[in-house]
Every structure is written in C-alpha cells, then in structure tokens.
C-alpha cells in the first residue's frame, strides 16, 4: 500500500508551472466580538453558496468514494463517469489514481480533465457537503472533530495555501466557477469566525 501511495503521490508531483496561484495571503480579519451575529450569518450565507457549489461539493461526497458530476456544465447530476472510485485513500490509489487523468496543467479543452499542481482528490469523509443542508455543513465546519481540528483562522489559512481549493474559482474550460472570489470567501470566513461562527437555526 505504502509503495503505491508514494508512487501516486510522486506522480502528482510531476507538474511544474503553477496555473493556479500557489499561496494567497490571509489578512488578519476583524477581532472576535466586533462582528454581529447577524453579519456573521450573512457571511455564512455567502460561504454556503460556495461550499454547496458543484466546484466544491462534487468532491465533498462524504462516505461515498465516488466523485460527482453535477452543475451547469454537466447536465444531469450523476456520479463521475468511467466507474471512478477514489477508495479509502481518497486519491484512487487502490485502483485508478485520480492523477492518471488529473495531472499537470489545468486544461481549457472542453471535456478534458482539470488539474492543479497538487493531488487531485476527494475531501475527507467527514467533510460531507454534497446534498447537505446549510445547517449541517455549518455545524460541521465549526466542530473541530469534523473540520480537521481547526479554528476559524486555521480554516481561512487552509483556504490560503491549498491550491486544489483555489481551482474552484479558476476551473477553466466551460466549468462554472464557484461564486465570488477566493479573497472574498476568506474574508467571509474571518467575519463568520469573529461573529462566533453562527449557524442557521
């Protein structure tokens, strides 16, 4: 297992140029308590529009290991074609690594596989967003047991340096980007956090 995992990881390190910005500086954000609950909930609504968007949710499939094809550029909602299984590794290491096709440069060629200079992969099982309600995802994001043991500033930092997340706003081809901008999303996370991470009732 280790051997093929490292091989798969080696292969995804093949890419050289960085089409998607590698690092985004995360601003300090407002101090805790300086943002009202109402403003925090408004920020959450914008965050939910991002996390529930197909560019994000298609790979946040929870206990399933099948990425989804959904959204405007895909027509009907269905699992990724070609019987793709990401496995327990979430990078397809058990059968067909995601990097077999999602490798190197992002592509603008219609229907060709997108890529980022990082492992193309599914999100962790506990980060289940596809088809989930705003309340469920919000509670998940503020629970350290489910969010990778992060406080809100660490969630913002995660957005700042994880290039597969940046791809959502620069997906290329005819793929619809996630709403807003990466910088605005980070700003919303910081405001939501400073408001005490409020969730809809």
């Amino acid at each position: 297992m280790k051997r093929f995992l490292s091989k798969a990881l080696l292969a995804v390190g093949l890419c050289l140029p960085l089409p998607v910005s590698a690092e985004v500086a995360v601003p300090a954000g407002p101090a805790i308590g300086t943002v009202s609950r109402e403003q925090g909930l408004e920020a959450w609504e914008r965050m939910f529009a991002v996390v529930s968007h197909p560019r994000c949710a298609n790979c946040h499939v929870g206990p399933s290991d099948r990425p989804m094809w959904s959204g405007e550029s895909y027509g009907r909602t269905r699992p990724h074609g070609m019987n793709i299984r990401a496995g327990d590794s979430r990078i397809g290491a058990e059968t067909l690594p995601c990097a077999t096709c999602h490798l190197g440069e992002n592509s603008n060629v219609p229907h060709s596989p997108p890529a980022v200079p990082d492992d193309w992969r599914l999100a962790p099982v506990e980060a289940h967003w596809f088809g989930q309600s705003a309340q469920t995802i919000c509670n998940q994001l503020r629970d350290p047991e489910l969010n990778g043991d992060r406080d809100y500033t660490e969630i913002a930092e995660h957005l700042g340096h994880d290039v597969i997340l940046h791809w959502a706003w620069e997906p290329g081809g005819n793929r619809e980007p996630a709403p807003g901008t990466l910088a605005a999303h980070i700003e919303d996370i910081l405001h939501w956090g400073a408001a005490g991470m409020p969730c809809p009732e």
Partner: protein, 152 residues
C-alpha cells in the same frame, strides 16, 4: 527539452504545451500509444511516468518530470511483461487499437494492487474503453497476470 523514454534520453525541440502523446508519436516515432479521444476519456494513449499510468494526450510535455515508459518499453518479445504474457494467453486483443493502453493501465494497476478483486479490476480498468468489447478477457488476463506476478 530532454525526455527519457523507454530508457533512452531524447532531445526534442517542441513547445512545452505540446501533449506528451504528440511528442511520442510525431517527434519520436513511438506509435504504440494511440490517439483515441484526446481528452483522457478513453485510455488508448496510456503510458507510464515513473511507473504510474497517465493519459499522455492530456499531459503537457513540459510537465513531465520522470521517465516515460510506453508499450514498446514494457517488455521485449524475448522477455514479456507478465501482463503482456497473460494478454497472449487469453488472446485478449481483437482489433487491438486500445490494447497498448489497456496493457499499460493493467501493468501500473498491478504494481499498486497485487491481489485485486474483480471489483478492483473493474474500477481500475473502466476508464480504458474497448469498442470490440474485450472486457471479459481483459479481466481474466489481469487476474492471470496478478497471479503470475505473485509467483503463483
């Protein structure tokens, strides 16, 4: 730029955006990898980079940072790779167009998973299309090759 293919170093004068498949076929005359769909949806162009299967139609040559192996470098007529031997044993190929991609995909898969179940084989090989429908023989040959690689 320099490119190592099947153990030999080549120098090619191409744009870094050129797909690896174009370089292999048109610049180096290595025609085992086939052009099928051009968008990584059929698998006919599958080659290895440092042992891992990739769709050479969708990898820019400038992004290749490893040794490329094509079907021509997998085994030799005197010393076939276990997957090639199993392919002959099961007489898998019909028209043959997709078969170098199938074999390269299977060889890479068995490096990663040496005791695959039928479900594993289906998951690993479903992205390699065969219009002749040789799938039952592909699955049987992959199982035979796995057993051979495991010393059975």
């Amino acid at each position: 730029m320099k490119l190592t293919v099947n153990g030999a170093e080549h120098s090619v004068d191409v744009e870094p955006e050129m797909p690896l498949l174009w370089v292999l076929r048109d610049e180096l005359g290595i025609t085992g990898p086939k052009y099928g769909c051009g968008i990584a949806q059929c698998g006919a162009c599958t080659v290895h980079i440092d042992g891992m299967a990739v769709r050479s139609c969708s990898v820019e040559v400038g992004a290749v940072d490893g040794e490329v192996t094509t079907i021509e470098g997998l085994g030799t007529p005197e010393s076939l790779h276990a997957v090639q031997a199993a392919w002959i044993e099961h007489q898998v190929a019909q028209c043959g167009y997709c078969q170098s991609g199938q074999i390269m995909a299977a060889a890479s898969f068995l490096e990663m998973n040496s005791e695959p179940t039928d479900e594993d084989i289906d998951a690993a090989m479903s992205a390699n299309l065969c219009r002749c429908g040789t799938y039952p023989r592909i699955r049987a040959a992959v199982k035979t090759a796995a057993a051979k690689l495991n010393g059975a």
